[in-house]
Symmetry: C3
Subunit: 301 residues, 3 copies
């Protein structure tokens, strides 16, 4: 298990500039991001996508999801409140996305303890997501379900009941930090097994393609007291994927955007309610200067 | 194609007073507004209805929607995240509303590119909505689906991928303004074909019954970066319909209420998150003096 | 019918301290609260649970709800936007909760006028909820459906059309106060019939186990203009139940937490939008000193 980060390494200025390039591209192209997501975060993730300049569309029925995934610029599939009907829509959309070349991201909310969604998540991996984002528990569970060999995995992330909407993806607490590190081997194995960029949210996020690994140190612990900020990171991953030449970097850029917006929002927030509102304001206001000055992203050596 | 509005005509003081009368009536009667809506905006439209003094109820299952539409004061049907089950509820509710004389409004979110909801929208028109509200793309698509003859329609609204929850109904950007004008002929044809008042959201909104046409110039471009403000205008149309003797004016009043509340909210908003919160505060605080001073509504000559 | 409360009795300091004990316990144990709730309030109730320190999970499909109710610390069932599928999930979850000893709370939103949910609510009572929370109309309707004999019930709560998401559970208006008093006999009868603690929201809330009755006088009338604050009280009841030795007191503590947070939020709110945001901030900031100073809770003699 890697050592925790008592103090963070210096951020890489090239990486910060690349985040700004991605944000510029999203604002210029206004990608149509197709979401099949959970009812807890449908509003907040649509607003986050609008705030960074993307064009979200929630098209979630089996009757329409396949056709829409073909015309969208990217697809976001989030298992949060999945049922049999929406599971069918997810399968159709993922298959259509693969066929049409629409990049897509999977958020395997709460996989592991619940067999229905665990089997669904496994079946969706066949359609080759470009990215997967979860918290440490979810990534470890999904990696294990795949039978991906995880050398040195501790199998213990200190957050075993982190299910459903209590998504601490944007979390920056000590427990979650431990989580992201604990999931390192599982994430690398999952990335190698699936070909996806795998993002693990935590106090310090980890994003890997199985060869290269990026770390992101933006965020604030109060983010763990707002529902759906992990789902927001996933939605923004969808937006960034649509403009990306390098999937790994696109996935990391979404973590920086979410984390930094939350960090800025927390500075003046009176609590989690204010933080949720200010995070949207901060996403909308993010610019190159702020990203260059404050993005904390570096390559793991 | 009508000329764009480089500067807005003077507002009509009689129309501003009529908006205030409608708001007073809603607050006095507290109409029970039945909503079958999408999961992105269920919370925000319920709050908008409460903020202007109405009594919203989201009763969305086939088991209950028909019975409830009979006892409600008005009905709002929004296709945003429709699936086979909710489509059934919509048909039952619309049929019951027509039979019971409950006025109702249709929001044909994203009709056009998606055949399932396009066919549903067409089938719902048989139940004679009192009003239809959409953005330019949606109104042009629905009008075309009806085969409504649209003299002089340009068929190009500059916003072809404006689907799903990226509903720019409350939008006040230049592109959307172009959209509302581009949809003028289609809206008039749709109104004549259906007998409904047709509202087209844009930088300057257009509301027509096929003979008379009103324009509304309230709003702010930041509103296009908040999800569901078009759906909010539709929900408020439902509230206004319940108190109206003149359906055309009721539909226009809802556009003024939404646009002016957004305009006031934007004055102090730090971004789209704040705007969403302040819009509810502004709706709740709207009064006759503010409406008379700031409503920008006029008859098209 | 009991007399209305022209001025409120002195709060009981022991009760205020007990609320603080419950809040401390929730924050220490971080109970996993399983919610099967309506799509209007899924986000806001998840955020309220996070704000007081609980761990919410919205697991709402028939495929998963039974299994999850066994591992959760408590269960919240809210009928707001129930349909045939979610009704099945509710039955499975309630049955599993009863079998596993998971305490659970029922929010019978809009029972009475709608037969589908009225029959569902009745059938769920077989699984022995620990608590039931509603507004006066709902509690009177449910008590009547049970055939629970309500001595002295007036049968008139002044809020007959209070259905759906216009849930004035957290309401503090004069009309709602009348409601809670009007439902007193029905609540006592329902509590005796079911064995549950029954909470009636109003200007002054009433919580009874059929023998003892508590009253709570916190809140603010502006809360009636925000959707889902009654549902929030129900969700917090779920959190408090998980830590409780005395179910009656746990149910009352949730009403104090919701009412006091709303009361504090209203002090600086510019309207209902701000109130919703500040309520989450206030829940997160609540501490023992504030509760001891401001909780208004007393035993009915």
């Amino acid at each position: 298990m890697p050592a925790p980060y008592p103090s963070l390494p210096a951020a890489d200025p090239d990486l910060a500039g690349a985040v700004a390039d991605t944000l510029d591209a999203v604002r210029a192209r206004r990608p149509l991001v197709h979401n099949i997501t959970n009812l807890v975060v449908a509003n907040s993730t649509a607003n986050a996508l609008l705030a960074i300049g993307a064009s979200p569309a929630m098209v979630m029925s089996p009757e329409e999801a396949g056709a829409f995934a073909r015309i969208a610029d990217s697809l976001v599939i989030n298992l949060g409140t999945v049922d049999a009907v929406s599971a069918g829509a997810m399968r159709l959309a993922a298959a259509a996305a693969q066929e049409a070349g629409t990049p897509w991201v999977l958020d395997p909310v709460a996989v592991g303890p619940l067999s229905f969604r665990s089997e669904l998540a496994l079946s969706l991996l066949r359609f080759r997501p470009g990215a997967i984002r979860g918290n440490a528990s979810e990534i470890m569970a999904l990696s294990g379900l795949c039978g991906a060999p995880a050398d040195g995995s501790t199998g213990d992330d200190g957050g075993g009941d982190d299910t459903g909407s209590d998504d601490t993806g944007g979390g920056r607490g000590v427990d979650s930090a431990h989580g992201a590190d604990a999931a390192r081997s599982a994430a690398i194995a999952l990335a190698r097994h699936t070909g996806a960029a795998v993002s693990v949210s935590g106090a310090v996020d980890l994003v890997t393609d199985g060869v290269r690994t990026l770390r992101i140190g933006n965020g604030n612990p109060l983010m763990t007291r707002v529902t759906g900020l992990g789902c927001t990171a996933t939605a923004l991953t969808g937006a960034c994927l649509s403009t990306a030449s390098d999937t790994l970097q696109a996935a990391a850029h979404a973590m920086v955007l979410t984390g930094l917006a939350g960090e800025i929002a927390a500075e003046e927030a009176a609590g989690p309610g204010s933080l949720q509102v200010r995070l949207l304001d901060a996403l909308h206001a993010l610019d190159r200067d702020t990203l260059v000055a404050r993005a904390r992203c570096w390559w793991e050596r």
